[in-house]
Symmetry: C2
Subunit: 115 residues, 2 copies
């Protein structure tokens, strides 16, 4: 029961819902999320840690970067909630804005790499 409550708590915060929606687009590192959300690093890392402890997200270090993605083998509740979020979050204007900001950011990032 504690675990169930913890999963719901993890999703009952605006920034964490926005992060979940962004990770739905694919894995991202902390600095990607900082740039798109416009939030300080400690805030982003803290929320990612919360989501990770709830089993909703998993991280993998590659070099200096920590890449986060939605947890693959999410058990019953977490898995169902992921599907639910995928259906319901795009209804929210702020979520759509974030996803557009992510697309813009990734385009800019790729372009810079070519310079």
């Amino acid at each position: 029961m504690k675990k169930t409550v913890h999963v719901f708590k993890a999703l009952s915060e605006e920034i964490r819902l926005r992060i979940m929606a962004l990770l739905e687009e694919g894995e991202l590192c902390v600095c990607d999320l900082m740039a798109v959300l416009g939030l300080p690093q400690s805030t982003v890392s803290r929320h990612l840690a919360y989501l990770r402890h709830a089993g909703l997200v998993e991280g993998e270090r590659r070099g200096m970067w920590m890449y986060y993605r939605l947890a693959d083998r999410a058990d019953g509740l977490a898995g169902e909630l992921r599907l639910l979020l995928a259906r319901c979050l795009p209804d929210l204007e702020l979520i759509r804005q974030d996803r557009q900001a992510l697309a813009d950011y990734l385009a800019r990032k790729d372009q810079d790499t070519c310079n």
Copy 2:
């Protein structure tokens, strides 16, 4: 977005999840929930108010009693969450115990009425 967060907050509390599971069995008044959960009246009423404000539950006064039930016309998110809870909550031992306690309580109640 605030509404979405509010709905998740409503479900990220043990007592409120237990209440949701009990109301899945049918409408109940505050004193029924007090008896089954073994909690003081102010605590039960407060949690019911929280669930009501989140649109997950609705109440109807009949005489001296307020009967609460799961909200019928739950919109997108609330509706999806109700289905999800119906699937996932019975996995939890505490929830099954509560439902058994409810069944016992209702049986006793009916019997007393016949006296």
